[in-house]
Amino acid sequence: MKKNEIPHDPGALSKITKEVCYAVDDSGKYTTELSEGWEVKATALDVAWNDVEDRIATAKQKVLNNEASPLLFFMELKLMDIPIVAAYTGFWKWQVKRHMKPSVFKKMSDKKLQKYAEIFEMSVDDIKNMKHT
């Protein structure tokens, strides 16, 4: 990449910082230059976020259809997966999977729900009622 080819397309990161790029100058020598971003990678990030939105919407529908507990929805909302939820709550993975079943969820104690509430940064009531901002 030549220095004058470094893209300057503002993206999410350019709100807080420009990033260092390596490129060659006219004499062929490597130098660094600050870039505001590149449209190609900004769209790649958009794709990732669209996928996240899709997963959240699917999870929400599953909860409404009573196929999954609200914990699935909040897990997706917080970009987590079962191993991450298990690691943060201290539950085993198989327990987390069980808690995602509506029938099991209904009988869960507030004490257990509190652990989920902490990592999802919600109150227990909000989780039960699927309330979120």
Partner: protein, 338 residues
């Protein structure tokens, strides 16, 4: 308490932390490309059967932590590295270091990293920052990918140091021990070792998922993605490839440009005429990775989508594999004078 510490902005976090800490401890000649090259940072791997954020697990650089480790080891520097089970202990050791005048590298997760824009906050636990002081309840932070220094409250720092999931940092902190001097002879030797190790990693790792063979493996996979996954999911997979290649820290072109810069800087220590020539090949490889990214973007934006378009993408990767194979073969044939 604020240590006399110079913040350096780098393309990549681990390069940046390595460079800043080594400079702080007395090695003025270290630069980001030198740290990257001595640490044999250039790599490629496609790990099958593993998913990151529901997409393919691809990396353009070596495993987290290795650049710092290898660079220090090659230069004969002792590393102090500690993990903690107790949060209190983790904070105490950090503050002891600061009181002793030692800035400290910390591995952190970015999901709860408050100063990052929301769009970048995925559950990724191998980010590296330096803590260089504390004012009231705020720790002073040098994040190498940022232009300016920043800060985190003690709660915020604790939360990112104890992020959970893959590569959980477990409060990990690290720094080079003591003030050190490194001679030009040592640097020369370290550069040579770094290049040789990188040749091994790119050309000779058994199996077909790592190094040059890993790039070819990915090329073959991409050809099948459209039929196997459908255009939309295949697009998401390509977007993930591009993010790994161009996201914060690669310096562009999946670290290939940084490696080109490294070979130019290596020439100052090893005046072998072939070095700047081989550097050009890495520049070409980086450029071609970027051309491939533009093609991928055509697909994930929905402008392209035929099997022919996926084949073109796949062919770019095969071309890159050949180019990088040639470049590393040239490196392996270098006649070292010392």
């Amino acid at each position: 308490m604020k240590l006399d510490f110079q913040h350096i902005q780098a393309a990549h976090c681990e390069n940046g932390v390595t460079t800043s800490l080594l400079r702080h401890n007395g090695i003025d000649k270290i630069t980001e490309p030198l740290a990257f090259g001595i640490g044999s940072g250039l790599f490629y791997i496609y790990i099958p059967f593993m998913k990151i954020n529901n997409g393919p697990a691809i990396a353009f650089r070596t495993q987290p932590g290795l650049i710092f480790k290898r660079t220090c080891k090659s230069l004969g520097i002792t590393i102090i590295r500690k993990k903690f089970s107790s949060k209190e202990e983790a904070q105490k050791v950090l503050e002891d270091c600061l009181r002793a005048g030692q800035p400290v590298g910390c591995q952190v997760g970015v999901y709860y990293l408050t100063y990052f824009p929301k769009e970048y906050r995925f559950h990724f636990n191998a980010h590296n920052i330096i803590v260089f002081g504390k004012e009231d309840d705020n720790y002073l932070i040098s994040d190498p990918v940022m232009e300016e220094t920043t800060s985190l409250s003690s709660y915020e720092l604790e939360r990112v140091r104890f992020a959970k999931g893959a590569f959980a940092p477990k409060g990990q902190l690290y720094y080079p021990k003591g003030n050190v001097t490194v001679t030009d002879e040592q640097l020369k030797k370290a550069i040579r070792t770094g290049i040789k190790r990188n040749i091994r990693d790119m050309l000779y790792i058994p199996g077909n998922i790592a190094g040059i063979r890993g790039i070819k493996y990915t090329a073959r996979k991409i050809r099948k993605w459209r039929d196997k996954l459908g255009t939309q999911k295949a697009g998401s997979y390509l977007a993930q490839l591009v993010r790994m290649q161009e996201e914060i820290g690669t310096g562009g072109g999946g670290f290939r440009f940084i490696y080109g810069a490294f070979l130019q800087q290596a020439y100052a220590y090893h005046p072998i005429d072939a070095l700047p020539e081989i550097s050009k090949k890495f520049t070409q490889a980086g450029d071609l990775w970027r051309t491939a990214a533009v093609q991928a973007a055509g697909i994930y934006k929905g402008r392209l989508g035929s099997q022919e378009d996926f084949n073109t993408m796949s062919d770019y990767l095969l071309e890159i594999a050949e180019l990088e194979k040639q470049a590393f073969t040239d490196l392996s044939k270098l006649k070292w004078h010392s």
